[in-house]
């Protein structure tokens, strides 16, 4: 019975990031890379997988070191660990997939300050055991990858009339759209439009309704701030 419960909870840790707490479409974290690199589906996959690698590795290390790192230097230590893994993945991409490395550009190094990674380190990995932390990182990373891939696919198909195009492969050509692409979709305005539509679709799937009352129960960021309603109210008063 206990085993069954723990396997359900492990599965829950993994799947929550895919839709229910999807970092891009529900908690609206990591917006800069989301809008910037999703002009092509393949860039979305590359960015998503690079972020997943950093998320899983940083969650693993931070979870292992959670009792060693003093509270006073918690955030700088997390950032150093995350920056280390980001630099490592940039070395690997530069060496083995240089085209993806140049396509991701500055957004690859900016994974270091991606709020999804620091958010999961602070909210989950620094408070939980190693295995759940890895699953949390993997779920969140795959959720991020899924949303970037979906967004990149929509923008690429509508904006350039191709799908999964790379430097060496022309990808799948979409009839009519390849000759009459809607260029607005690969421009920043199109990015915002597609993002808005995807958020609406996810809200519909998750049957999410606007809260009748502002409370932690309806807040997608509650897991990050630890349901600290007082702190939230103090911030609102200050504003």
């Amino acid at each position: 019975m206990a085993d069954n419960k723990s396997s359900v909870s492990v599965w829950k840790e993994f799947t929550k990031g895919l839709i229910k707490e999807n970092p891009t479409l529900v908690t609206l974290l990591g917006m800069c890379p989301t809008l910037a690199v999703t002009t092509m589906a393949i860039n979305g996959i590359g960015m998503g997988l690079a972020t997943t690698f950093v998320l899983v590795c940083s969650n693993l290390v931070i979870s292992l070191l959670k009792n060693v790192i003093p509270k006073a230097v918690r955030l700088p230590s997390f950032i150093v660990i995350i920056a280390g893994f980001v630099t490592l993945i940039s070395f690997i991409l530069q060496r083995y997939i240089p085209s993806l490395y140049s396509a991701l550009g500055v957004f690859l190094t900016l994974i270091t300050v991606n709020c999804i990674i620091l958010g999961r380190a602070e909210a989950f990995a620094s408070k939980n055991k190693v295995f759940p932390s890895i699953l949390d990182g993997l779920g969140m990373g795959l959720g991020f990858t899924l949303s970037l891939f979906t967004m990149g696919s929509v923008r690429e198909i509508l904006g350039s009339g191709h799908w999964l195009q790379t430097n060496s492969w022309e990808g799948i050509t979409i009839p009519f759209l390849s000759t009459h692409p809607m260029l607005i979709f690969i421009m920043p305005a199109g990015g915002f439009f597609v993002l808005g539509c995807l958020i609406a679709i996810v809200n519909k799937i998750a049957n999410r309704k606007p809260p009748a009352e502002i409370s932690c129960d309806n807040c997608p960021s509650a897991a990050i701030c630890g349901k600290n309603k007082e702190q939230c109210e103090r911030k609102e008063d200050a504003a």
Binding site: P70, V80, I81, G84, L88, S102, G105, I186
Partner: protein, 185 residues
């Protein structure tokens, strides 16, 4: 006392360990391809001129492999088969800085034979349209006397088209100025 020593000590240890591991990873992944005929370059040469014994021109007196560039901005290397074929690898600004990384083949008449895209960092769907064969074909035969205005820019890729013309002008110019050094050197 412990509260004053432990936080900086732990942070220092983390920084040192991460730096050490990164320097190890850097040494394992870094490969200096300066002056080396990579598979991509070879593929580009063969696409333009067909099979041949291509090599990069290197500075004869330099201690390590340094490609000849004739001090021209943006030129990365010059490749020849030692007889009549010359290819110029260069990076040119399009809409993005350094967005066009090209290999331009120059035939013995000093005109563009063909262009191979080594890398393109232009806006997908807009600037990347300059890769279309219909546009690249227009540059075949582009010589020192060709008026670049005779080639129409690609709609919605004006800066990238201008970058292509500038790159071809530069390649043709280098060939005409340094033809003898290229084939003797």
């Amino acid at each position: 006392m412990k509260n004053y020593i432990m936080p900086p000590l732990v942070l220092t240890i983390i920084c040192v360990v991460v730096s050490g591991l990164l320097s190890f990873a850097y040494n394992k992944t870094y490969v200096d391809t300066t002056g080396v005929m990579t598979d991509e370059l070879k593929n580009g040469c063969e696409t333009i001129f067909g099979e041949g014994d291509y090599s990069i021109l290197l500075e004869p007196d330099a201690e390590k492999k340094t490609p000849v560039t004739f001090d021209e901005e943006g030129v990365i290397s010059i490749i020849t088969d030692g007889e009549s074929k010359c290819l110029i690898e260069l990076v040119q600004d399009g809409y993005a800085k350094g967005g066009l990384h090209l290999l331009i083949g120059i035939n013995p008449d000093g005109a563009v034979e063909d262009i191979y895209f080594l890398e393109i960092g232009e806006t997908p769907g807009l600037g990347t349209k300059v890769q279309d064969r219909s546009f690249v074909e227009k540059f075949k035969g582009f010589g020192a006397d060709t008026d670049e205005n005779s080639i129409d820019n690609v709609t919605s890729a004006t800066y990238s088209s201008k970058g292509m013309k500038a790159a071809c002008n530069k390649a043709v110019d280098i060939y005409s100025k340094h033809k003898e050094e290229i084939f003797v050197g």
